[in-house]
């Protein structure tokens, strides 16, 4: 640790408790940071692409997650290093913004860091490297715009959307029935999409899973499922043309929030109180009945007596429904959430064509399906699968596919996948490098090399010769001036990604490059790491 001394040779205290802290400076610090970033990227590198492998992650409590989703791996990894945490953030922001390409962005950042390390060794100042990267990323993003294609889809022709979702799903374990899942995702997104405003509210799509059955049994429900059953075992299990009262008040005697005491000191009072109590329950049920409700969904519990009265008056009811589900039900059925019995009116009831209870397997698991709702804009994707981990992974994969479909509705430009976009950008950046005078030229060239690492990892994971394949594809792109050549991961026999129908969204790719560059710039600018040492 560097120390400062005054003229008498006594050390200045610059940092609080400075002898207990470790400090790295200058090139040392940069190298340590770069190596940490690279280590994170190396973990994810093998998960890239359709032949990417999965990781088992064991949480501190011993739960097992099996996944190949970059964001999930990093999130669960529980990293300690500060720079590694930056990489985790990077992947997470890609997840929030785009939803897909979370692995790619980390691999890209790792490659940029690796190239930067070489430049640093040659004595180029980190800021110059960062500036060069910035220029290069601008060229790459512009180039992506240039090679992107608009593609058309309508509500009737969903084929192109399905194709794109299939590209996303093919890298996951669910690729066995990717067609089925892609169709479900696209239909789900389209049914909640506002095509005029080009907006999709993914909150309206609920993804539910239940263990058992096969992956192929996964279905799209135009409505809501609730993991609850009727409050009374003898209530009807199926209700057609249901009018639903959505309540957030319990079927229990009122509990005023102000502190109070009801004193009973005579027999008369005791009796009136008793009658009062009976009337409460009667009134509550009667109010629901009066407005014409045929189903009551309540956020709270029921008293035994109320439960029986409901059953008695032939008014099926569901209790303990969670707040989020309640909101979804309200949106789907077009009803209003009613906080007090007094405020129930016929207009506030939600409507659904069919409400039914369905049981699964040999245990008494039951789910409530609310279908044919007044507002068809809320859908549920109901996943079945062999085991819990499979369902969790399927949920994540469906989430990715949904995000991709949403991005396409927002902006219908696509680029071709399989590494073709990266290769094409690399060529463009390489060509542009020569035009820049100064040291930045080296950084721009390094950027072009880093871009190559994504197709290289793809080829590696698919069991191809990485260098050979990449150089072949690159020369083919230049020779035929066609940016659609990529890595043939699935051994189909053609390099043309247009024929293989492998697409990715333009914004997803652009975002990847921009985010990766940003984080790398940030890491490069650090020249001093002060951390409390272990004691």
């Amino acid at each position: 640790m560097a120390l400062a001394f005054d003229e008498y040779g006594r050390p200045f205290i610059i940092l609080k408790e400075q002898d207990q802290k470790t400090r790295l400076r200058g090139i040392e610090a940069q190298k340590a940071n770069i190596s940490a970033g690279k280590a994170v990227a190396r973990i994810l590198r093998t998960s890239l692409g359709p032949k990417g492998m999965d990781k088992i992650l064991q949480s501190p409590d011993g739960d097992v997650t099996i996944t190949n989703d970059g964001a999930t791996i990093l999130e669960q990894m529980d990293v300690d290093n500060q720079i590694a945490k930056l990489m985790v953030e990077l992947s997470r922001s890609q997840d929030y913004e785009i939803g897909d390409g979370t692995t790619g962005v980390v691999v890209m950042a790792g490659a940029l860091l690796e190239q930067a390390e070489r430049l640093l060794e040659r004595g180029i100042h980190p800021i110059r490297v960062a500036e060069g990267y910035e220029m290069a990323s601008r060229i790459a993003v512009e180039h992506l715009e240039h090679i992107s294609k608009k593609f058309d889809f309508e509500a009737t022709n969903i084929e192109p959307l399905v194709q794109t979702c299939m590209t996303t799903l093919s890298s996951k374990i669910v690729n066995r029935c990717k067609r089925h899942l892609a169709e479900i995702s696209v239909k789900a997104v389209l049914s909640v999409a506002d095509l005029d405003r080009k907006d999709v509210n993914l909150d309206m799509i609920k993804v539910e899973g239940k263990v058992g059955g096969k992956l192929e049994d996964t279905e799209l429900i135009y409505g809501i499922t609730v993991d609850k059953d009727m409050s009374h075992p003898q209530m009807p299990k199926q209700i057609e043309d249901a009018k639903i009262a959505i309540l957030t008040c319990p079927f229990e005697p009122p509990k005023p929030k102000t502190k109070h005491k009801v004193d009973i000191d005579t027999v008369e009072k005791f009796q009136t109180l008793r009658l009062q109590e009976q009337k409460y329950f009667d009134d509550m049920v009667q109010k629901c009945k009066d407005v014409g409700a045929t189903l009551v969904i309540c956020q709270w519990g029921f008293d035994d007596e109320a439960n029986h009265l409901l059953m008695h008056r032939n008014l099926p009811a569901v209790r303990w429904v969670g707040g989020v589900e309640l909101e979804l039900i309200a949106i789907a059925t077009g009803g209003r959430i009613v906080p007090r019995f007094q405020e129930l009116t016929p207009e506030k009831l939600g409507r659904a064509g069919l409400v039914r209870e369905k049981s699964f397997g040999t245990t008494k698991d039951k789910m409530l399906y609310i279908e044919h709702c007044a507002n068809s804009r809320a859908v549920t994707i109901f996943i079945r699968g062999g085991n819990k981990m499979m369902i969790e992974e399927t949920k994540r994969s469906i989430h990715d596919a949904l995000c991709v479909a949403r991005n396409l509705i927002r902006n219908n430009s696509i680029v071709y996948g399989g590494g073709s976009a990266e290769i094409s950008c690399s060529i463009a950046v390489e060509a542009a490098a020569d035009k820049y005078p100064g040291v930045e030229q080296y950084a721009i060239r390094a950027f072009a090399d880093a871009l190559d690492s994504v197709p290289m990892a793809l080829a590696e994971n698919s069991g191809l010769q990485p260098i050979e394949t990449l150089s072949a594809v690159k020369s083919q792109q230049i020779k035929e001036n066609n940016p659609h050549y990529g890595i043939d991961c699935n051994d189909v026999g053609t390099n043309d990604m247009r024929q293989q129908d492998v697409f990715e969204t333009l914004i997803g790719k652009q975002q990847q490059i921009l985010l990766a560059t940003q984080v790398v710039k940030m890491i490069l600018k650090i020249d001093d790491v002060i951390s409390p040492s272990d004691y």
């Binding site: 940490a36 973990i43 000191d265 009796q271 062999g386």
Partner: protein, 527 residues
């Protein structure tokens, strides 16, 4: 410079070959553990819990064994999970699914050692699983139309399922019990309606199926012990003090006489409530909650049989079988649906008195009374019977049936083998490995029975070369026999679930190339 640690201190990371090896070893260890319980001559395991009392369970049910294990290996956890799901979904085949997944991984390990990429193995397994399913689908027997034949199918399935359990000595008897119970359900899979009561004493043979409903409760003192043409009110209401539910109510009095008055009012209230209940014209009252002495006395005076403190399941079931509704308020006697039954009487099983409802309105429900020498025996008998009931109720819905005794595995293995020969490329090795894993199941069955598995399986394979052969392993005589003649059948749904989930699990484990274990959460020391 050394690369800094990215992960926390206690976390560990295993990569590539090592990770794969860790998951293979874990999965295969689990398989070897449950392997010996497979088949009619499979052995049982004793499980001792670490909790207080060190409770002992003796079982041969795969799911039960695996559920009780504390496992740290992630791959092993995947296997335990599939076994649990198999239990929830179809109820039986919980051991087979783990064994098949383990065998698939064992074969995969060899292929990985021979430098075949896991992804290639996975795609081979997928094709093979599809092919195996189709092969099995072609050979299924569906006797949906013929009720007589279907019943005998069910009987065979029940016997096959039970033969690997502790009940195998009396499998005829129990198979009959299970089939009768399930046939009464008339196609519903609601096993709730079948009640199993365990009473130690007697022998397993003394177990019986009762058409009515048995409630493990006593009749209140001084009340009739036998009621014919009973009208039953099933209720869930407080029959103790019936406190005021309005929040914040409390009794505040200033003199002793007031206390007495209020007490009197309380009593009066209860009396009114009892009067109302009796006004329903009932002669039997079953409550989920306690009935205090005072109301009980009132009921006794009115000649009404009052049963208190029935558990919730019991109440629901009773409401279901007698056709009544569970009531909590008693103001409108005319509109409450009462339950009916022909006869209520107190019966004795062993030492205990039980209440027996016979001639109930809904014929669906029934009670199976299990008798046996010890609690462990009864617990295991219940598990076995539960397995059989699950399988049967699933079979009633999906009436397709296949033969048992290793026959389905051989049929599938043959089809998969043929496919392997027609498939070009590295995948064919994986497909071949799949067929070897399938054959491992009859091999293990034979091994567990102490037979010469190599010889038997080879014979079986030769037999299966002929078209439409029904050969399987006859464990009893220790030779290859005709499964159709021996009457060994299994449900197609179970076999299919075994095949698909085992492949899925194997696939999941194979795809892994890295295991990251987070630092275990620090527990506060309670020193």
């Amino acid at each position: 410079m050394a690369i800094e640690r990215i992960l926390k201190d206690d976390a560990s990371e295993e990569k590539g070959e090592r990770a794969r090896m860790a998951s293979f070893v874990g999965a295969i260890a689990i398989t070897d553990l449950v392997k010996t319980t497979l088949g009619p001559k499979g052995m049982d395991k004793i499980l001792q819990s670490t909790g207080r009392g060190q409770e002992v369970t003796v079982t041969n049910d795969g799911a039960t064994i695996l559920k009780s294990l504390h496992i740290d290996n992630p791959a092993a956890k995947v296997l335990i999970d599939i076994s649990k799901v198999q239990d929830d979904e179809v109820g039986d085949g919980t051991t087979s699914v783990v064994v098949l997944a383990g065998e698939l991984l064992r074969e995969a390990e060899k292929l990985v050692a021979a430098k075949i990429h896991p992804m290639t193995i996975i795609s081979g397994y997928r094709i093979a699983a599809e092919c195996a399913r189709n092969a099995l689908l072609q050979r299924v027997v569906d006797n949906k139309e013929n009720a007589e034949k279907f019943k005998s199918d069910l009987m065979k399935i029940a016997k096959t399922t039970l033969s690997s359990k502790i009940l195998s000595q009396d499998k005829e008897h129990f198979a009959q019990l299970a089939v009768d119970a399930v046939m009464r359900l008339k196609g519903s899979t609601n096993l709730e309606a079948i009640q199993i009561i365990k009473k130690p004493g007697g022998s397993l043979k003394d177990s019986f199926l009762d058409e009515g409903f048995i409630l493990d409760k006593k009749i209140g003192l001084g009340q009739p012990k036998r009621i014919e043409n009973a009208k039953i009110l099933v209720a869930n209401t407080a029959m103790d003090t019936d406190k005021v539910k309005i929040y914040g109510a409390r009794v505040r009095v200033d003199s002793m006489s007031k206390v007495a008055e209020i007490e009197g009012a309380e009593k009066e209230k209860m009396r009114e409530k009892v009067q109302k209940i009796i006004a329903h014209g009932i002669n039997c009252f079953v409550n989920r909650q306690l009935i205090y002495n005072f109301p009980e006395e009132l009921f006794a005076d009115a000649g009404v049989l009052a049963i208190e403190h029935a558990d919730f399941d019991g109440i629901e079931r009773l409401a279901l079988v007698t056709g009544g509704e569970i009531a909590s308020t008693f103001d409108n006697p005319e509109s409450v649906k009462l339950g009916h039954c022909k006869l209520i009487e107190e019966i004795m099983i062993g030492e205990d008195k039980l209440i027996h409802f016979s001639g109930v309105e809904m014929g669906q429900a029934c009670t199976i009374v299990l008798r046996g020498a010890s609690h462990h025996m009864l617990d295991e008998a219940e598990r076995s019977l539960h397995d059989a009931l699950c399988v049967l109720s699933q079979t009633v819905n999906d009436t397709r049936v296949v033969l048992g005794g290793g026959w389905p595995e051989m049929v599938m293995a043959k089809a998969v083998d043929e496919l392997a020969r027609q498939t070009p490329g590295k995948k064919s090795h994986a497909i071949e490995a799949f067929s070897r894993s399938l054959v491992a199941i009859p091999t293990i069955i034979a091994d567990n029975a102490g037979l010469d598995s190599a010889d038997l399986v080879a014979q079986l394979r030769a037999e299966h070369h002929k078209e439409g052969c029904n050969a399987g392993i006859d464990v009893i005589s220790g030779s290859v026999g005709d499964m159709a003649e021996l009457g060994i059948s299994e449900s197609f749904k179970v076999k299919q679930a075994v095949l698909l989930s085992a492949t899925e699990a194997a696939e999941m484990i194979l795809r892994v190339d890295e295991i990251i274990t987070c630092a275990p959460r620090k527990r506060e020391d309670r020193m």
